[in-house]
Symmetry: D2
Subunit: 182 residues, 4 copies
């Protein structure tokens, strides 16, 4: 079984066999998109933050956000939409932001010396977005559940400690970018 | 007739009489919000930009964007929503951005020496936002019409030349912020 | 003694007497700029965050950031530079950012119901910036001292609890905006 | 002769032979950083924009900005610094921004149907930054010259028409991000 998202199996590994991708992972930074799903009120204000519960490759249960690779020939928006649909189901109705600018750029390295974000498999650079969803989220694949929390809960040390790859800091940065960090 | 928006009469001048406001205008910078209404496609990409046609105080017809003052005790989101509703009607269904950060800050001074933005009446500082609208726009008050254009048209020299107070540059900056400047 | 910054006496209250300013404070939102001074390394990465120790009006010692009002006819950059010099001294050599866009906008209200930021005296809206300083900081006026901390220390609950007006959240948001939130 | 930057030969192709890189280019998006060098005044305001003159692979002379690939194991800041030094020389003294967030993300595809940015060789995604330089620029390698222009000149149609890969739009977006678009 191959994992090319952050613990997310991808049925279409971009015209690369598992062996080829494994080889490239040691030689090139891979481009990712990540998304923090949120609920907003009538004035656009974030009221809830969605955090995914996921069974990791070792059977451990961790929290994460929507995350996945950008394929060859795919725009960032297409990749973002594809991974949101994969992780939240087809009825989430995400509202992708009008601006292509991420709220932050997370650099994942195999070892934690260069960055606070770690991905043992590879060097990955993720453009991260906050995405309001207006529909019903129904996590698919290996995501067990989406938990909706207040921004303050999502930014808490308890939640951060359960997130994989150091993504607690990225989640807090997302909450800061919408002015909701406590 | 009093104008407290940029050419926009405001029925509720924030608990200030016209005389009082006129006096303050010579002594304090006033805080404004401005909004560029846009239409987006299913991937959040801006497809059209809305520009208002307005009859100015001298009877001249100029183009502008949504603009108005922030009142005492009013949040930026409330002010933004109020002015969007005033200029686009109650059925525009604006989607205010999740982030409070403007795409740009425009500084208006009575004379054009300090900034490219000019407001003869006052020193005003405007926080400017791009706001997708999903409903029907029905301009009210003194706005005659909203014209929907492609981003390239809205960024053209012809449109810029018709905009009041130097807002052509602000409109282009809005279009740049969503990655659609030609 | 009058305070028109956040606990900062201002020798030039913008051609307004104290009485006039007191009156306006109940009727108009006032425009502020705030700055978080930082030290950066050769790659622009934030290594230290400067937090001011200040004696508040009640004699209490609190932590704060650089903060002050924008005067009539003054650009945001001029206001930012003036308040940085006032609070950090003339040898701080601040490098104002090339972009006019703040990392966040903080809305201060007299009561804490509308926002997490509180200013008992007034409704103030602050454009907040991260500003690298390259020289020597020598706090003047009522700022007793500037303390340099790692980003993680500055984002800690202990520091947040000591900051006035809810600025702990703003300081954390600043740290998030430079990718240094733990 | 191999070009792995946008027209920039790179002596160290990231532990990949030319053949290997050529193969990967058809199968994965490559991660780039791009930089618009600027001069700023004492208040951080952009006064001049640097545009590179470069001899393209076909011998044609085009204008471009600093651009190059991010290597495996390299941080974005290290890549940015390396390419700035390569294109502007060792005495440019670039001041990398404190925030890791790009002013825009440019998506280059071999054909112009998906984006306004084109790179015939590959699918590349570039994080683009505005970088003040304080020293002396002495372009090396295949960059013939750096031309300093006012923001208005750099944003002109004449300059845009000479830029490779559609980067005129990116240059204008950079100028918009610092509030200097005319």
């Amino acid at each position: 079984m191959s994992f090319i998202g952050t613990g997310t199996p991808d049925p279409n590994p971009g015209w690369l066999s598992d062996d080829e991708l494994a080889g490239i992972r040691q030689r090139l930074p891979l481009l990712y998109v990540e998304a923090v799903p949120v609920r907003v009120d009538g004035l656009g204000q974030v009221t809830e933050v969605g955090v995914l519960l996921r069974v990791g490759s070792a059977g451990t249960i961790t929290r994460t956000i929507v995350s996945g690779r950008v394929l060859y020939g795919e725009t960032l928006r297409d990749a973002l939409f594809r991974h949101l649909e994969k992780d939240l189901g087809p009825m989430a109705f995400p509202q992708l932001p009008a601006s292509p600018n991420p709220f932050s750029v997370a650099e994942y390295f195999p070892s934690p010396t260069l960055s606070q974000y770690v991905d043992e498999r590879q060097h990955a650079v993720a453009l991260a977005y906050v995405v309001p969803v207006t529909g019903t989220c129904d996590p698919r694949q290996d995501a067990l559940e989406i938990t909706w929390m207040t921004p303050a809960e999502a930014a808490s040390d308890a939640v951060s400690a359960e997130m994989e790859g150091g993504r607690g800091a990225l989640l807090r940065t997302a909450i800061a970018s919408v002015g909701k960090l406590p």
